[in-house]
């Protein structure tokens, strides 16, 4: 009796395993086909890479040793980069938070408002900060200011999404309890939602600060200030030892910032 049942179960298990194996095979083949197609489209060429190796070796030789004499001159731009990231993360908080409450389905005053604000937030996020910076440099001129604006616009989109997702994860029961006690809409949000979602929001803000530090190092490529500008100039004038110094500095600073961010996020949760 029991063996009959057991063999029935075993059959079912085997059948399921066959089906799932077939599914993985199909997925694998589709991914492989897409990859081959992309390789063909992007002229992916290993011999070319091998032939280029001596060139890369040569370039490496010209880069070394790094020119650390310019380190002092790089401090200004580096600090500027960090300042851009800091402003570009703190300013958007004040726009992203109200927008998020309009976006989130559980706090929006009307479903239509949610749809419209999501579209706005999504647009801000979808345009890369480099594109924002190009546009803004044209509008307000060269320098770190358009860089800050570019990071701000992109971060409104990014933080907005993080924030409204956090709000939507809020416990509906708690909100109901506040409503039942006669709390107004604002008080329901302030007492029933904020205390529980604040840590998530702080954590994602730190994440964005980290991200913006990375982003702000390259904004100089389009003339929006910071260490990226120094890097671009050195690259344009073939001063490779200086390029390498810039890169080392960038990597070091970003590693330190990642560490700080990770430490702070660990403290929050």
């Amino acid at each position: 009796m029991t063996t009959a049942i057991a063999s029935g179960v075993l059959d079912a298990v085997m059948e399921e395993r066959r089906v799932s194996r077939r599914q993985y095979m199909i997925i694998g083949m589709v991914v492989l086909a897409a990859a081959l197609w992309s390789a063909w489209g992007t002229e992916f060429n290993i011999p070319k890479l091998v032939n280029g190796l001596p060139m890369i070796y040569d370039l490496g030789g010209r880069m070394l040793p790094p020119d650390f004499t310019i380190l002092e001159d790089l401090m200004g731009p580096m600090v500027e980069t960090l300042e851009m990231a800091l402003l570009g993360t703190t300013i958007p908080i004040f726009f992203a938070l109200p927008l998020a409450f309009l976006c989130a389905v559980n706090t929006t005053p009307h479903p239509l408002v949610s749809v419209v604000t999501r579209l706005i937030v999504g647009t801000f996020r979808t345009v890369p900060e480099l594109i924002w910076a190009m546009v803004l440099v044209t509008a307000v001129g060269l320098g770190p200011f358009p860089g800050v604006l570019a990071l701000t616009l992109h971060s409104i989109g990014g933080l907005g999404k993080f924030y409204y997702e956090a709000i939507e994860s809020a416990d509906p029961g708690v909100m109901e309890a506040m409503e039942a006690a006669g709390a107004s809409r604002f008080k329901i949000i302030w007492f029933g939602v904020m205390p529980n979602v604040l840590p998530v929001m702080m954590s994602s803000t730190l994440f964005y600060w980290e991200y913006n530090n990375r982003a702000s190092t390259v904004l100089g490529l389009v003339g929006a200030g910071g260490i990226g500008l120094a890097l671009t100039h050195a690259l344009q004038d073939f001063r490779y030892p200086e390029v390498v110094t810039c890169l080392i500095l960038i990597v070091l600073i970003l590693v330190v910032i990642d560490r700080i961010s990770a430490f702070l996020r660990g403290r929050i949760i």
Partner: protein, 274 residues
């Protein structure tokens, strides 16, 4: 309508119907009247409209049609502000307690005073000293005398303690009516009795009307003045516990009394293992 009954009615619903979307109505044409100090249990398995009926009594759910009157006020006729004011005097407790996990016990209780808090004070989470005093008194009354607990985060408490905090939050509203949505369903057997005794005691002392949804037949029989059984969105029984004999239960729930008992035993076991 009879004037005599009208004067004593604390909660009154007439021809109450609530339909969600195009589905069959969750409750249909319900008319009931609850007196001051009456302990009412809405009995029935889940999905029969107990929760909807309960939430219509403070307009957390807006009825599709019909009238709800609490303490003489018709909720549907009130302004937005008037409704908030009316809700302030209707306490409510829940199966999952619905406390703010990351706030202190004391803060959670003071949330019962949100209806009276100015926007500025709300913005800075700044309750008045009087509110603090009221909160402490409510906590003591709800059976939490240990002041060491008051500044702890709500999620560090046990289930029974959480429900006591929720009861304190409701008491601080100085309610005339208590709505309780399956308040003991997430508690173990010992806690169930303690919490039921507490609610019954508070209601008796303050002369409060209690409307409680339950699915435990034995608990309903022990504590209720009046049991209202719901099935398919309508009232199938309305009377004192003594009239709810096993035969009536079988008719109302359309299953044998053994099945009803068995379901509850299973659920009790589930709650205990949680």
């Amino acid at each position: 309508m009879n004037n005599q009954a009208d004067q004593h009615a604390m909660v009154e619903v007439a021809h109450l119907t609530k339909a969600y979307g195009n589905a069959a109505p969750a409750i249909e044409d319900i008319s009931l009247s609850f007196k001051k100090g009456e302990f009412i249990v809405l009995l029935g398995p889940s999905g029969v409209g107990k929760s909807t009926l309960l939430r219509c009594l403070n307009f957390l759910v807006r009825p599709t049609s019909g009238v709800v009157r609490v303490n003489g006020e018709e909720l549907g006729a009130l302004s937005k502000k008037g409704l908030l004011e009316a809700r302030h005097h209707i306490g409510m407790i829940f199966q999952e307690f619905n406390l703010v996990n990351r706030m202190s016990v004391l803060m959670n209780v003071m949330c019962g005073r949100l209806g009276t808090l100015s926007t500025w004070r709300a913005l800075t989470y700044n309750f008045s000293p009087e509110d603090h005093e009221l909160a402490v008194r409510a906590l003591v009354r709800a059976g939490l005398e240990d002041t060491e607990l008051y500044l702890r985060r709500a999620d560090t408490l046990s289930g029974g303690q959480k429900q006591r905090v929720a009861i304190a939050r409701m008491l601080i509203q100085e309610p005339k009516v208590i709505l309780a949505d399956e308040p003991i369903a997430s508690l173990d057997v010992v806690m169930r009795i303690q919490i039921m005794d507490l609610i019954r005691d508070i209601a008796d002392r303050d002369g409060l009307t209690v409307v409680m949804s339950l699915h435990q037949l034995d608990v309903a029989r022990t504590y209720a003045d009046r049991i209202i059984a719901l099935a398919g969105g309508s009232v199938t029984f309305d009377g004192p516990p003594a009239e709810l004999t096993d035969a009536v239960v079988e008719r109302v729930f359309m299953k044998s009394i053994d099945e009803v008992d068995e379901e509850q035993t299973v659920e009790t076991a589930e709650a205990s293992t949680e």
